[in-house]
């Protein structure tokens, strides 16, 4: 569905993308993670045909992004809403621009409003809504026409637990219907929930890609043992259970607490992208 090959983009002295390649199949959710400045947003802007790469190319179902715009839904990182316009009017605008008409448009709006929990404020001015509500409206404008390719850049930022789950459910549903989804987030547990393939961006390229299990395989977890009231032993290990048994067998002091943490996406994130913070 989406094929980006060897994208390069430079802004003056800043190398935003440097050989960025990513492939997303129909029905696949790719969680794109990486520190600020890793190139994620530039990648989205190129795929959405908002900027052009210096070199490399992107195809969507074999077509240039300019020719495939009707198949893309984009919810960018920065909020872009009209303050005096209601969520319903936003959805009407973006639905109409995508070609939806009358009953189909009304149905799409009602369905999405219910799924994303927008119904309570559909006719209020968007400028008066909370940041989380505005972000959901923005995501809804990307989803309204059920595009084949969804680019969602931090769609749940500022959302509470319930609405975050509602968003994730809609994303999973769209992937189930066959949409290819690029999901950018700093909330890594969301990617586990979405069962997403994870791509780690760093310095303008993708440095690792795989499932959660594949990527954390071989990463150290942590065993924490509290002895008595104040002594704590922390061991970073790739075999947490064996390490715990070993620690317990070697101590003769009373153990007041034990904590075993298996390697997580946060560990992966830190180990792969930790030196690239900006």
């Amino acid at each position: 569905m989406l094929e980006a090959i060897d994208l390069v983009k430079r802004y003056g002295p800043v190398q935003a993308l440097d050989g960025f390649s990513l492939h997303v199949e129909a029905g696949e959710i790719v969680g794109l993670v990486g520190h600020n400045g890793a190139g994620k947003t530039t990648f989205v802007e190129i795929v959405a045909n908002l900027i052009r790469p210096d070199s490399g190319h992107v195809t969507i179902d074999g077509k240039d992004p300019a020719a495939a715009r009707g198949r893309i839904g984009v919810a960018p990182q920065h909020l872009g809403l009209y303050p005096s316009i209601s969520p319903r009017e936003h959805l009407e605008l973006f639905g109409r621009l995508a070609g939806l008409r009358r009953a189909a448009l009304r149905t799409a709006i009602d369905d999405l409003a219910a799924a994303l929990r927008l119904t309570g404020f559909m006719d209020r001015h968007s400028g008066g809504l909370s940041g989380g509500q505005q972000r959901r409206i923005q995501a809804a404008t990307a989803l309204i026409h059920r595009p084949g390719l969804l680019l969602l850049d931090e769609p749940t930022a500022g959302a509470d637990l319930e609405t975050r789950q509602a968003m994730l459910d809609v994303v999973k549903q769209r992937a189930g219907e066959g949409a290819a989804i690029v999901y950018i987030t700093h909330y890594l547990p969301e990617l586990t929930d979405l069962q997403a393939t994870i791509a780690v961006a760093r310095s303008g390229g993708i440095i690792a890609r795989g499932t959660h299990a594949e990527l954390v395989d071989g990463l150290p977890g942590e065993v924490r043992l509290t002895l008595g009231e104040d002594e704590e032993i922390r061991v970073s290990t790739t075999a947490p259970t064996a390490t715990l048994i070993d620690l317990l067998s070697r101590t003769d002091r009373p153990v007041s607490a034990v904590d075993v943490r298996n390697p997580s996406l946060d560990d992966l994130y830190r180990s792969l992208a930790g030196n690239d913070a900006s």
Binding site: Y11, G12, E45, A48, N49, L50, I51, R52, A68, R69, G70, R71, I72, V74, P76, H78, L79, G80, L81, Y82, P83, S84, I85, E89, E92, L93, F94, R96, L97, A98, G99, L100, R101, T141, H145, R146, P147, G148, R174, E177, G178, A179
Partner: protein, 260 residues
């Protein structure tokens, strides 16, 4: 089911998208009509107050005060066109529209049609007020008047759009449009009749769009074809240059940290 609605093409679909953007922008304008109202009410008040002075100062004083203030305050209305485009950058909405199925031309048409209508409404109301209250003669040719209003509206819209793509903030736009409007319309004879202005000002008036707009309006009201059509051509040319510049800026990444 995912919808594949990307292949719809053709004039009807294009018109549908233009109408969607125009409708959207009409709603925005309707909810914030302050600027337009002030540019209609202020010249009405000034026409009434200044009419006795103009009538005493020059022949055809009623025509001069009505058309002069119409031109001056329609130039001020450039700020309406400029603002409506500039806020898309402020709200970060222009890229959101660019990422949709709509082409740049469709977006620009939909964006500018409501502003164009607003400019036409402003001029029409002021002309009607001039005729009914100030004593402006009833136009001999409605066709010429309609042509003049449309052409002037187009020129103002194009210049306002071009300005919006140059300035960096609404403050800058206000300065440029207000100072520019006052200078160009005054220099063009909209505030003080050209006949009582100094020689250098009369010579310099020809570079001002305000001069050509005033000449066009007055000739259109008199029903003079030649006097109307020459300014029409000049203003259309000015509008096309400004409009082409604006379209190039707006379709090539305007509003981003880096242009394409």
């Amino acid at each position: 089911m995912l919808r594949d609605i990307a292949h719809r093409t053709g004039a009807l679909d294009s018109a549908y998208r233009v109408a969607a953007v125009a409708r959207h922008n009409t709603i925005i304008r309707r909810r914030d009509p302050g600027q337009l109202i002030s540019y209609i009410v202020m010249p009405m008040v000034l026409m009434l107050v200044l009419k006795p002075l103009y009538v005493k100062a020059v022949d055809g004083g009623a025509t001069q005060v009505a058309t002069g203030l119409l031109v001056m305050f329609s130039v001020f209305a450039i700020a309406i066109a400029g603002n409506s485009i500039l806020v898309e950058r402020h709200w970060r909405t222009w890229d959101r529209l660019r990422a949709t199925r709509a082409s740049a031309t469709e977006l620009l048409l939909g964006k500018t049609i409501p502003i164009f209508v607003a400019l036409i409404v402003q001029q029409t109301i002021l002309l009607g007020y001039g005729i009914l209250v100030i004593g402006l003669p009833v136009p001999r040719s409605l066709g010429f008047v309609v042509l003049a209003i449309m052409v002037w509206g187009f020129t103002l819209l194009a210049v306002g759009a071009a300005l919006a793509t140059i300035v960096r903030s609404q403050g800058e736009l206000s300065v440029v449009s207000d100072v520019g409007a006052l200078t160009l319309s005054s220099l063009g004879g909209a505030l003080v009749p050209l006949s009582i202005m100094p020689g250098w000002a009369q010579a310099a008036a020809h570079v001002s769009p305000g001069y050509w707009a005033l000449s066009m309006m007055q000739a259109a009201i008199r029903g003079e074809a030649a006097g109307t059509l020459l300014p029409v051509g000049i203003l259309l040319a000015m509008g096309l240059v400004a409009g082409t510049f604006a379209v190039r800026r707006l379709t090539r990444g305007w509003g981003r940290s880096r242009l394409l």
